[in-house]
Amino acid sequence: MTFETIMAGFGGQGLLFSGKVLAHAALIEGKELSWLPSYGPEMRGGTCNCSVIVSDDPVGSPIIAHPNILMVMNEPSLDKFEDTVATGGIIFVDSSLIERKVGRDDVAAVYIPATKMAKDMEATSLANMIILGAIVAKTGCVKCETVSNALRETISARKANLLDLNLKAVEAGIKFIKG
């Protein structure tokens, strides 16, 4: 099984980081993986994305043409990537930031008010981790508990005080799917 995920939105929303946590979780599970950021003049407020492939087989190209998982945290990213999603794929939409609905009927859509949920739990910048929790709970690309371990190993020393909040955010995303 191969999961090809694109996470896209504005710079500063933590998309590269949530991708890194997913990649690290795959590493912990001994899976094959690649993580590729968009790089360039992006900065806070600019568009930004990363591609994460998690697979049982060695990864060929790290570039994803047709993701089967798409996570979008702004409308330009939904506009840009919606048509590229593989048939049967799932689009995770931060519905507190994106008003419109997914226009395709051959893909599934999960609307999660992640930014609002993050605000409510006083973790404003952690909407990315809430959606990550939802992705793993919905798709099983890695195990939910591995994400927590990956977070513990990935979070920088400078932000170690935010570990618990990050863990809670992931948990909230998992709960949103599993109820």
Partner: protein, 354 residues
């Protein structure tokens, strides 16, 4: 055995270099390789090494010259426009027969170009980047693991043949993360100069002093140094060519690609095989010396070759040379920072298989 860690290609090069005993890094920031310098700036001070952000690329390469002359493992890294600036110093390193590691994480050109991935320095690097008759060893990694492994190989081959060695990657390879097993940290940096009898390590008043120089005003002498050097190149070409063959056993079409495009090509080959097309790939790992042998062999069996590259057909010429133009060599390329998609490569394969 050490375990797998998750690292960017650029970071893997930096950590691997340190583990290979490199304690002297001189550089100047430029996207998409700046992570190498950033990593070195954090690590080198902690292990008694030198990280120095020079005032320019030219200064950095000449600092490498000095450190290499004293027998140390030294390196610099840059991206395409920065490597143009280093060309003078690379020529001096080659003229003084000094081993050193130069990393080029290519971006689109010419000029300042862009910052997205490219392979358009292929000619520039494989034909000897600078004035005069010379070559440098050029290695082309296609995985983060190879970024680490080839860092060691570049130091070792460079020292064995007394010449600069280059890791020629592209922006994607530098930026992507993959699991990597780093080389064991077994090289004592202090032990390296003693293995180089030509190095300026200090005579201790016990031997005549060594001179590291590239100036020979007598043409008879200069000719001699050139011929001796090309003798070493001939040995390098005989003994050190490296390449990977993928699904070549029954191939009728042969894709030729390196770096990121080799990975895109692998996906396209898997897809083409599902359609019943007999296609394989030769992935050159040493670009200088170019591995001619597998191409001569493949030319006997395949109908045509396709080079998949991020330039206007530079490696395409080497494939024609290696096959004596005995088979058509098609091209599937994008430039300026664009990368051909799997579908584009697949279309190209289908066309050649008809």
């Amino acid at each position: 055995m050490s375990s797998k860690v998750l690292m960017k290609g650029n970071e893997a090069i930096a950590e691997a270099a340190i583990r290979c005993g490199c304690r002297h890094y001189f550089g100047y920031p430029i996207t998409p390789q700046t992570e190498i310098a950033a990593y070195m700036s954090k690590r080198m001070p902690k292990i008694g090494g030198t990280f120095l952000q020079a005032e320019s690329e030219i200064a950095a390469i000449n600092m490498v010259y000095g450190a290499a002359a004293s027998g140390r493992r030294a390196m610099t890294s840059s991206s395409s426009p920065g490597v143009s600036l280093k060309a003078e110093g690379i020529s001096y390193l080659a003229g003084a027969d000094l081993p050193a590691l130069i990393v080029n994480v290519q971006r689109g050109g010419p000029g300042l170009g862009g910052i997205q991935p490219s392979q358009s320095d292929y000619f520039f690097m494989t034909r000897g980047p600078g004035h005069g008759d010379f070559h440098i060893i050029v290695l082309a990694p296609a995985t983060v693991q190879e970024m680490a492994d080839m860092t060691r190989l570049a130091f070792e081959l460079g020292e064995k043949y007394r010449m600069p060695a280059m890791l020629l990657a592209d922006g994607t390879m530098g930026q992507m993360m993959e699991p990597v097993v780093l080389p064991e940290d077994t090289v004592d940096p202090e032990s390296i100069p003693a293995t180089k009898p030509w190095a300026t390590t200090g005579t201790d008043m016990k031997r005549p002093h060594n001179i590291v120089n590239s100036l020979y005003l007598k043409p008879e002498e200069l000719e001699k140094t050139n011929l001796e050097r090309f003798g070493r190149y001939a040995k390098l070409e005989r003994e050190e060519c490296r390449w990977e063959e993928y699904m070549m056993d029954d191939a009728e079409v042969c894709v030729v690609s390196v770096g990121i495009t080799a990975r895109v090509s692998k996906n396209a080959i898997v897809a083409a095989r599902k359609e019943g097309i007999k296609v394989g790939m030769i992935r050159p790992i040493t670009l200088y010396p170019f591995p001619k042998k597998p191409f001569a062999k493949a030319a006997e069996n395949v109908r045509s070759f396709i080079t998949v590259e991020l330039n206007m057909g530079q490696m395409n010429e080497d494939v024609r040379l290696a096959t004596n133009c005995s088979r058509p060599v098609a091209m599937c390329n994008r430039v300026g920072g664009m990368i051909p998609s799997v579908d584009e490569v697949l279309a190209s394969i289908r066309k050649e298989a008809k």
